[in-house]
Symmetry: C2
Subunit: 274 residues, 2 copies
């Protein structure tokens, strides 16, 4: 059987209990969609990995080797979610980063989560989470391993009819969802929250921002609630229209539809069944 | 040789690469000083472990078994630093906590860091870190595994003459140090920062707060700089007077001296060599 888990490129599913990824969350990760062995957004994942690692002063491993391992891990899985975790490795006791860290990288592949086709057609129901994301410009946007806020937010509901939870900051701005980015259409304009104070800058979001007129703005909850369209984006699930935020109803609109069509053409979403 | 690392009570130094402690920093830790096999502050560590776990809805393992393992791990080490890490264990992909998590706990023992005796006598030099701790009441005070802020702050200097870095919040308040809590004496009154918005509530701090008249307050940098005494507290290092914050000089004072004497009586600090 094809190994599904690799540590530093070798088949394995154990890491050193003294790894700083465990001790301090000292590292970052990527979740990459592989379709029939190809990762259409790989270059964006790679760019984020490089940029996030630079911000944390994490040495990068050989990223080509990481990609080769990811392909190996998902062999035989038609649609795979490949998680790549990069840590600062084992160090001396204490927060001080080692002078010469030996980074550790873990690659694991699982079948990508199946999305009910209906979600793409009629949209998803979401809720507003009570937890407020903390403002930390030094970590904002980075897909790092310090994700307790997201864990606590995701623990706020277990109604399977609620597909996602929206997250905001302490100042009344919407930021995103627990595992997706947020876009709205208002007065014909596509908008998404600025992520310079908190939040995770997803690769699907990055893809949508390039070459399109998208406003990257502070977006209040009131502005979200009065939007003409609301949709979420994620590497694994693509473009998901929102049909309800708590008690407010929305209809999937033409902007989300056009982006979905584009996403399907690129092989990033399964064909609609609706 | 006595094993120094245990996972779930069994000798071992590897954890599952899918452990949520690594994936999301979904867990917490304690660093316990053992002196000749005894941990004078164990009950406080235990109380914090229980309280922090409750706040994160982490199931507790058998805490007596954890303690027995910690004692086993430090056998033969006169002064040991025992780290106890507790995670939510392995779960399905995604932030949602497992419905029935199987917690994982790791115990590792190392010799406690040696503190130059001069530090206790003449005090230590510290600096103010540029990083500002984010405000997050849901996580404030907890010794959780999301410690990237502390890693980044500790990476700000590598001058061995600087023993610690002070950390504040975004509102101009002092909070603590990268691996210690902060106390000041002003107008004869002992004060320490409130930790309801950020920071880690140390067990030595908890011990000092009990039965003493200590003001738990918002403390501005200006108030710290004009204090009569400044000292730091930590489980492993005890009571450390501060003799300099950046360019401002302080002298170790009578309050820190009295607490040091008390700490030595309880076996929590080595006898002074000065």
């Amino acid at each position: 059987m094809t190994p599904r888990s690799f540590v530093n490129g070798r088949a394995g599913d154990a890491i050193d209990a003294r790894d700083r990824g465990l001790l301090y969350g000292d590292g970052l990760f990527e979740t990459v969609l592989f379709v029939d062995g190809a990762a259409p957004l790989w270059l964006r994942h790679r760019a984020r990995l490089e940029s996030d690692a630079a911000r944390l002063a994490l040495p990068l491993p050989d990223v080509d080797a990481v990609f080769a391992t990811a392909r190996e891990a998902c062999r035989g899985i038609a649609r795979a979610a490949v998680r790549i975790t990069l840590t600062r490795g084992v160090g001396e006791r204490g927060y001080a980063p080692p002078a010469a860290p030996e980074p550790v990288w873990v690659v694991t592949a699982t079948p990508a989560p199946t999305v009910p086709p209906d979600w793409y057609v009629h949209g998803i129901r979401v809720r507003c989470c009570g937890l407020r994301l903390a403002t930390q410009p030094r970590l904002a946007g980075i897909k790092h391993l310090n994700r307790l806020e997201h864990v606590l937010a995701r623990a706020e509901w277990n109604d399977p009819a609620v597909a996602e939870g929206l997250l905001g900051d302490a100042h009344g701005n919407a930021i995103g969802a627990t595992a997706a980015n947020l876009f709205v259409v208002r007065d014909g304009r596509l908008l998404t929250p600025a992520l310079d104070e908190c939040g995770v800058a997803g690769v699907t979001r990055a893809d949508l921002l390039e070459g399109r007129d998208v406003g990257v703005v502070r977006l209040t909850w009131d502005e979200v609630m009065r939007a003409d369209e609301v949709f979420l984006t994620s590497s694994l699930r693509g473009i998901l229209p929102v049909n309800r935020i708590d008690d407010r109803a929305f209809a999937p609109g033409p902007v989300a539809r056009a982006l979905q069509a584009h996403w399907r053409e690129r092989g990033l979403m399964e064909p609609a069944h609706g």
